[in-house]
């Protein structure tokens, strides 16, 4: 446990006060603070999990869920459309399987913002907060905890499992910021499509046969003799050390957790439906992890910044993999009865420019983007909002990234209006003036 320093903040509450409050020592807290804390406590009881599929670089809204077949050709692009399960609603024809699964998810076509480069766009969508200062396009910045890190802070997980997993890497701005390293994502870097796949560090090294591993663990236990200072007021890090090792052993010895990590336990037929590629198998891994209780899993998929050759790029594997993998994930969750408590979200940091550029690409366009959301009571077959006839601007039921973040938190039982405190003790709203996207709560 990192020792929180007693600090003052601009609101006059020390961070320590929050711990105290948790223990029931209510100092000068107003009623609304108490209610908020109550709501926070309630979050521990929420069961909803989230698989956050991140298409880094910004997928085109035209070539995914918001095609404009009637727009002039320099906007329309070369792809056609495909009908979905809902009459009158069409997707880009590169996503036929998702079109057939549309009865199980909502597409929001009207999320818009003003952070038109990758560094800032990633930050806005990954944390629900714009960067306080302009940042460069290639910047990897963090000014606020990511949604996954906030979930990690608010949710307890059994079997010593991590609360926030990211594969195959942490996304930009996907870190914990001032929440501290224990809320950083647990990164699963290996490719689960490979035979040699292993989740790092969660099992005793395979080079070591079972008997030896066991005897090492026992030896360790009997030789760790530094005297512990058991009085909790003494704040002995050796006592925390024991807690962490106990959780680590929980994870190592939990059959449930270890089975979840072992993707080879999955029937070959199921693995096929997700696509036998790294991305598809990561989605499957995410399903296995959320099913044993990991509340937040990010699946990162790079390479969506198509400034040139967009159409050729989409014709290669990436659109097909997303179409196959995400539709399989949603259908699989539904069949297994897990969709009710598992959200699936698919997005990038922004949409793409309406006019196709000279390199047959589209550039950054934050004024309209499409986001797929499924599960946890989100209606199926629903389109929320719209862009204008040429797809330039979101013009109906426009939502901001704050609204998006507030809705995810609410679905996960986390009070989006709570106040956090940064390293200097300054109070910071988790989400600033977020409104719920009401269509997700129908």
């Amino acid at each position: 446990m990192s020792k929180l320093r007693s600090l003052l903040n601009c609101e006059g509450l020390g961070r320590r006060d929050f711990i105290q409050t948790g223990l029931g020592a209510l100092g000068g807290l107003g009623l609304s603070d108490m209610l908020k804390l109550k709501a926070q406590a309630g979050a521990k009881g929420s069961d909803t999990r989230c698989i956050f599929v991140w298409l880094d670089g910004g997928p085109s809204h035209y070539e995914t869920f918001d095609p404009k077949p009637d727009a002039p050709s320099e906007i329309r692009g070369e792809f056609g459309t495909v009908p979905t399960t809902v009459p009158g609603v069409h997707f880009c024809d590169k996503f036929p399987k998702l079109a057939k699964t549309f009865d199980k998810f909502t597409v929001i076509r009207s999320i818009a913002h003003n952070q038109n480069n990758h560094g800032a766009g990633n930050h806005y969508l990954m944390t629900g907060r714009p960067t306080p200062v302009p940042v460069g396009c290639g910047a990897y910045v963090t000014f606020h905890p990511s949604i996954g890190s906030v979930v990690s802070k608010n949710r307890e997980v059994k079997h010593g499992l991590p609360a926030y997993v990211s594969a195959p890497r942490m996304s930009r701005s996907g870190g914990p910021n001032f929440l501290g390293a224990q809320h950083a994502p647990f990164v699963i870097g290996d490719d689960p499509n490979k035979k040699s796949f292993r989740v790092r560090d969660v099992s005793l090294p395979t080079e070591i046969e079972d008997g030896r591993a066991k005897s090492r663990v026992e030896l360790r236990q009997s030789l760790d003799q530094l005297r512990r200072i058991t009085d909790t007021a003494a704040e002995d890090p050796a006592v925390d050390f024991d807690d962490y090792y106990a959780s680590a052993f929980d994870l190592i010895t939990s059959t449930e957790a270890q089975e979840a990590f072992d993707i080879s336990k999955e029937p070959e037929k199921v693995r096929e439906t997700y696509g036998r590629n790294d991305f598809g198998q990561r989605l499957l891994m995410a399903r296995r992890l959320t099913e044993v209780g990991v509340p937040f899993v990010t699946v990162y998929n790079g390479g969506w910044d198509d400034h040139r050759g967009l159409f050729d790029n989409y014709k290669k594997t990436k659109a097909e993999r997303v179409d196959t993998g995400v539709s399989a994930l949603i259908s699989d969750l539904a069949e297994r009865g897990s969709l009710d408590n598992t959200m699936v979200i698919l997005l990038g940091e922004f949409g793409r420019t309406p006019k196709i550029n000279k390199d047959a690409g589209r550039d950054h366009w934050s004024f309209a983007m499409s986001v797929l959301m499924a599960g946890a009571g989100i209606p199926g077959g629903q389109i929320v909002g719209a862009t204008d006839v040429k797809g330039y601007y979101a013009n109906e039921n426009i939502y901001a990234p704050e609204d998006f973040a507030a809705s995810i938190y609410t679905k996960m039982g986390i009070d989006h209006q709570q106040t956090l405190h940064d390293a200097s003790g300054r109070p910071i709203q988790l989400v600033n003036n977020g409104k719920l996207i009401k269509e997700l709560f129908a």
């Binding site: 320590r16 560094g119 290639g138 390293a181 790092r200 560090d201 760790d224 003494a234 890090p237």
Partner: protein
């Protein structure tokens, strides 16, 4: 100077409706205090950056003119209704008669309600005739002594410019500096906790801040005879014992020689001692062998370890992000810092050089700092925090919530950096590849953001410099900082050194010196600072003085009087080894150096100069966030990920089970000798009888132990608290 934001009287066209003549309720002196007290201007409510539901007030009411406009004119004036004051939105909302997200802030029949109602009824004037200005608040009594658990009230009085006074206790906000130590309610009633000590309760009346000292003496003091037997190695001990007497604390027993050599070597030069160093020390019979060891650790022979270790700490504080200022400037700065520590540059020189840096970012390391902190305000904030221990950053936008600092102080400090010119590429993240040149040119200005006055350079509580002419104001600042009588610099520096060696600062956090955050032992801090100045700002001298004290050499095992002391240093506090130290130690003992990007092969992690370079181990063990701006924070705590990584990671597995020349040596020894060597290497001690028994039981009874079993033993001990912690 007047720490108040001067309120300009603004003529406003509000119709006078008061029937009884002149209005009596002052917006500044009556209404704003009520609004503040009700919590409306909390940082999370209407005072956050874009307000709450369209209603935005200034934080701590630092901008009364803007607040007035917001209340009286904004939202088409519907927030007040002079014709029927009770129907004013501001009252209906605050009393929750109209649904209010912030719920009910006060009752209809409260004094708060009456004040605002009457002000509205009087026409809601911006000022009233003969309006006075608050000149300061006083707390009665200024210090309080409590029995454990006792509750006592305080009274707060504000004085006005016309000489009148008023009890404003009920209009103040109260915050305990440490709620575990003492709590305070909305009416200024303070309740002491159960642990003896001293701390403060902060009182804020609108934008006036003061602190009241809270003392909880121990239930019983120990007999004086207990202390007289204690040995004092130097002045530090005398000051510490004096404090322990007052607090009824008794220091832990001295640590063992084994504990001392491991702890001191880790703290001074960032590694564990070698077997030879340990043996030599343990076998020595010299009565002053601990002092001698300290001198050896700080001598020339260890200067590279010393420099790398301390430069790693200072790199966290000073080194900009490579993605912001470019790789080469950061590398040069890092190199500059390391060289400074290699020759133990006095801190007054270090600061002066850093502060007066000019030239090319691609030729001279220190220029990277100003390239990073480009605006005068950024540099002012940074230098104050790092070298003065003063956090001015709150005062950038509003009066500091728990200190006297105002925007005047903030922008006066910024004025030292107002005459810097630059030429070159500027910042173009992620790679500022091209050089930038920085130099001083007279004539630049820094303006106060609200009053727009041109600020004259002045350090916090320092003298104001007039026209600086052709002189670089930065050199005036350096001169002021390094004057022996400077109230901040030496204290801030010895406090930082203290915190590195003992786990916490005498003032903690180390960069937050303020009246309301007192040192746990002020005489000790004062003496250390004076001694530091007298010895030419020599860091090694101060480190040696601390390491040689009896206080530093205490055991981390508590006695019956000090287990709950986590603040007064009556026992040694255990700390986890920093990421780089741990990784280097593992690389050294296994003979398998870590491959680190950006560094030549076989370089220790302690030479890492860029937290962006990937390394799973360093990430797991809490190196600073690679994308943050300096000063960077580290998470000193443990985590499940750390436990998993230390036990199971492939990289460490390879280190343990690889060539490992150490294990090859151990293989040649008898199991008993082998166990002895392993304990000496990892823990600087011999195994206890039962440890030896368990270890030998594992290694077996053959003449030599199998390699695999030796590896098991090392693995087991590495995964123990005694290894991972400095204790």
């Amino acid at each position: 100077m007047n720490r108040f934001l001067t309120v300009a009287a603004v003529a406003l066209a509000v119709p006078p409706v008061s029937a009884e003549g002149d209005p009596t309720i002052s917006f500044t002196n009556d209404v704003l205090p009520v609004i503040t007290k009700a919590g409306c201007v909390a940082g999370a409510c209407h005072a956050k950056s874009d307000g709450q539901n369209g209603f935005q007030l200034s934080i701590f009411s630092f901008d009364p003119d803007s607040d007035y406009r917001e209340i009286v004119f904004d939202a088409k004036g519907r927030r007040i209704f002079p014709a029927s004051p009770d129907h004013s939105l501001i009252l209906l909302k605050a009393t929750n008669q109209i649904p209010h997200e912030g719920e009910k802030r006060f009752e209809v029949d409260s004094e708060s309600y009456r004040v605002i109602r009457q002000w509205i009824a009087e026409g809601a004037p911006r000022t009233i005739p003969n309006e006075t200005e608050p000149t300061g608040i006083t707390i009665d009594p200024p210090a309080l002594s409590f029995k454990k658990g006792e509750t006592r009230p305080i009274k707060v009085t504000v004085a006005y410019s016309d000489g009148t006074k008023r009890d404003v206790t009920d209009l103040c906000e109260f915050t305990s500096n440490d709620a575990a130590f003492a709590t305070v309610d909305h009416h200024g009633k303070i309740t002491a906790g159960e642990v003896p000590g001293e701390n403060s309760v902060i009182v804020r009346y609108v934008d006036q801040v003061a602190a009241v000292r809270v003392v909880i003496p121990p239930d019983q003091l120990l007999p004086e005879s207990e202390y007289t037997a204690l040995k004092a190695n130097n002045k530090i001990d005398e000051f510490a014992y004096a404090r322990f007497r007052e607090l009824g604390l008794f220091p832990s027993a001295p640590c063992t020689d084994s504990e001392f050599i491991r702890r001191a070597t880790l703290d001074a030069i960032g590694r564990i001692p070698t077997v030879e160093e340990t043996k030599r020390f343990l076998e020595s019979k010299a009565p002053d062998k601990r002092a001698k060891l300290v001198d050896t650790l700080l001598s020339e022979e260890n200067r590279f370890d010393y420099a790398n270790y301390w430069a790693t700490k200072w790199g966290d504080l000073l080194r900009p992000n490579t993605q912001r200022v470019g790789v080469k400037p950061v590398y040069l700065l890092d190199d500059w810092i390391r060289r400074k520590f290699q020759v133990n540059t006095p801190w007054n020189e270090f600061v002066t050089e850093l502060l007066s840096a000019s030239g090319s970012t691609h030729r001279y390391g220190p220029v990277a700092v100003i390239r990073d902190k480009r605006e005068p305000a950024d540099m002012a904030e940074f230098i104050s925090q790092i070298f003065l221990g003063v956090r001015l950053n709150c005062a950038k936008c509003h009066h500091h919530p728990s200190e006297k600092w105002s925007q005047d102080d903030y922008y006066s400090m910024a004025a030292f950096f107002g005459s810097m010119k630059r030429k070159g590429q500027g910042i173009s993240a992620p790679i500022s590849g091209e050089p930038e040149f920085w130099w001083f040119e007279p004539g630049g200005t820094v303006k106060h953001p609200v009053s727009e006055a041109v600020m004259k350079p002045r350090a916090p509580d320092g003298t104001e410099y007039g026209d600086t002419g052709d002189r670089d104001p930065r050199s005036l600042l350096a001169e002021w900082i390094t004057k022996p009588e400077n109230p901040y610099f030496a204290r801030a520096m010895v406090n930082r050194i203290w915190a590195e060696l003992l786990g916490k600062g005498l003032v903690d956090p180390v960069d937050d010196f303020r009246e309301s955050n007192p040192a746990v032992n002020q005489p000790l801090l004062d003496w250390l600072a004076k001694d530091f100045v007298e010895h030419g700002y020599d860091q090694k001298h101060t480190i040696a003085t601390i390491l040689k004290s009896r206080l530093y050499q205490q055991s981390s095992t508590p006695n019956e009087h000090n287990a709950t002391d986590t603040r007064n240093f009556s026992r040694s506090y255990r700390r986890r080894l920093p990421a780089e130290v741990l990784l280097d130690t593992l690389s050294t003992i296994t003979g398998d150096p870590e491959k680190l990007q950006g560094l030549p092969n076989d370089s220790p992690a302690m030479q890492q100069w860029n937290h962006l370079l990937p390394n799973d181990f360093l990430d797991a063990f809490g190196r600073p966030n690679s994308s943050a701006a300096p000063p960077l924070e580290r998470d000193p705590g443990g985590s499940v990920v750390q436990a998993l990584h230390l036990m199971n990671s492939k990289v460490l597995q390879k280190k343990f089970a690889g060539e490992n020349p150490w294990v090859s040596e151990l293989e040649k020894l008898s199991p008993e000798e082998s166990v002895g060597q392993i304990y000496l290497r990892l823990f600087s001690r011999s195994p206890a009888d039962d440890e030896k028994r368990i270890a030998l039981n594992h290694l077996g009874t053959e003449a030599t132990a199998p390699r695999e079993k030796i590896e098991n033993l090392i693995w087991s001990l590495v995964n123990s608290a005694e290894f991972v912690l400095n204790h």
